[in-house]
Symmetry: C2
Subunit: 207 residues, 2 copies
């Protein structure tokens, strides 16, 4: 008997260190599966259909969207992107965990499609540090940085409905917190439906 | 600005290792306060009123109970015991955490009096190990052990409404799980009411 998987939704303003935290979580726990997103954009050189993305025509994407086949979807620079619900649900049933690295709007959609998901918002220690980190990355010009900081404030204002707030001040402490939210989520009775019964009856329960 | 405290309710059949786990949690985190219970039993030699217990007459205990002054109460061997609500609430407001080491019936009362509490049930890996542990303690005769095992099964059957199930198979893994539930609980937005605002406005937020 295995536990059921957990959908872990992680949002954060860019520059908060979210990607590093997620990488570390995947490194420590082998229980995370990978979901392949769908997109209407053209494949780039070297991208393989069904591995990097499932490449769909706009018509096909819209048909599936109308059928509610996506856990979440968004339009970015004129292209549609979406996470198909069925493979995510299958992974969760089979005991694999799924990470959604996604903005607040996407997280709200997942709240509707996968209500048992656990939602974590990663915060910068202060706005000056966030600005410094964005400058250090060297990816954005002045106007982009202004825009990202404004976007960060807007997204952070919605963090109140998440399950947990993780401040990334020191990376080790932030990772310990994110890891705790994940682990605590895996321990919910709903994700371990026959655990108590198995222990009382002497049936195997380890995964 | 400090976060608010968390009431952590821990139930487990006796012999599960709950006391060891709680001791370790208090050792790692200095944020736990101590609440002094009320009782109608006579003080034992060396016990100090207001430190070990608040010793009350039965009349005074029942008067306070009628006023709903207890977070939970129970009668054991003809004596009344109870946790007064006001000091617990005060500690939580001041950012101190409180542990309730309590059976399922007491936990149900706390669910009503402190609905934001986090509930953890510690399970033995199997009933044979539990029986072994009870024998190794050498505190109980055969009939007591029978009774404890029956009580364990009855209590475990109610673990489904707790927030987290922690199996104490290996102590380190069980502690890691309990610690995760505690830490995750401290990260809830409701316990960090002005955190986001403080970060955006550049106000101090560290405890």
């Amino acid at each position: 008997m295995r536990r059921e998987g957990i959908a872990l939704v992680i949002s954060a303003p860019s520059g908060t260190g979210k990607t590093t935290l997620i990488h570390r979580l995947r490194g420590e726990f082998p229980s995370f599966g990978y979901s392949v997103s769908c997109t209407t954009r053209q494949p780039r050189r070297g991208e393989v259909d069904g591995r990097d993305y499932t490449f769909l025509s706009r018509e096909e994407f819209e048909r599936r969207r109308a059928l509610d086949c996506f856990a979440e979807w968004a339009e970015v620079h004129g292209n549609l992107y979406g996470t198909p619900l069925a493979p995510v649900e299958r992974m969760l049933r089979e005991g694999l965990d799924v990470i959604f690295d996604i903005d607040v709007q996407g997280a709200r959609q997942i709240k509707l499609s996968l209500s048992a998901a656990v939602f974590v918002f990663v915060l910068p220690p202060d706005m000056e540090k966030l600005e410094q980190r964005l400058r250090l990355r060297g990816l954005d010009d002045e106007a982009d940085i202004e825009c990202r900081l404004a976007r960060a404030r807007v997204e952070m204002a919605q963090a109140g409905w998440y399950d947990a707030l993780v401040v990334n001040d020191r990376l080790d402490a932030a990772y310990d917190a994110l890891r705790a939210v994940y682990l605590a989520g895996t321990l919910a009775p709903a994700r371990n439906p026959r655990l108590v019964e198995s222990i009382v009856k002497g049936l195997p329960w380890r995964s």
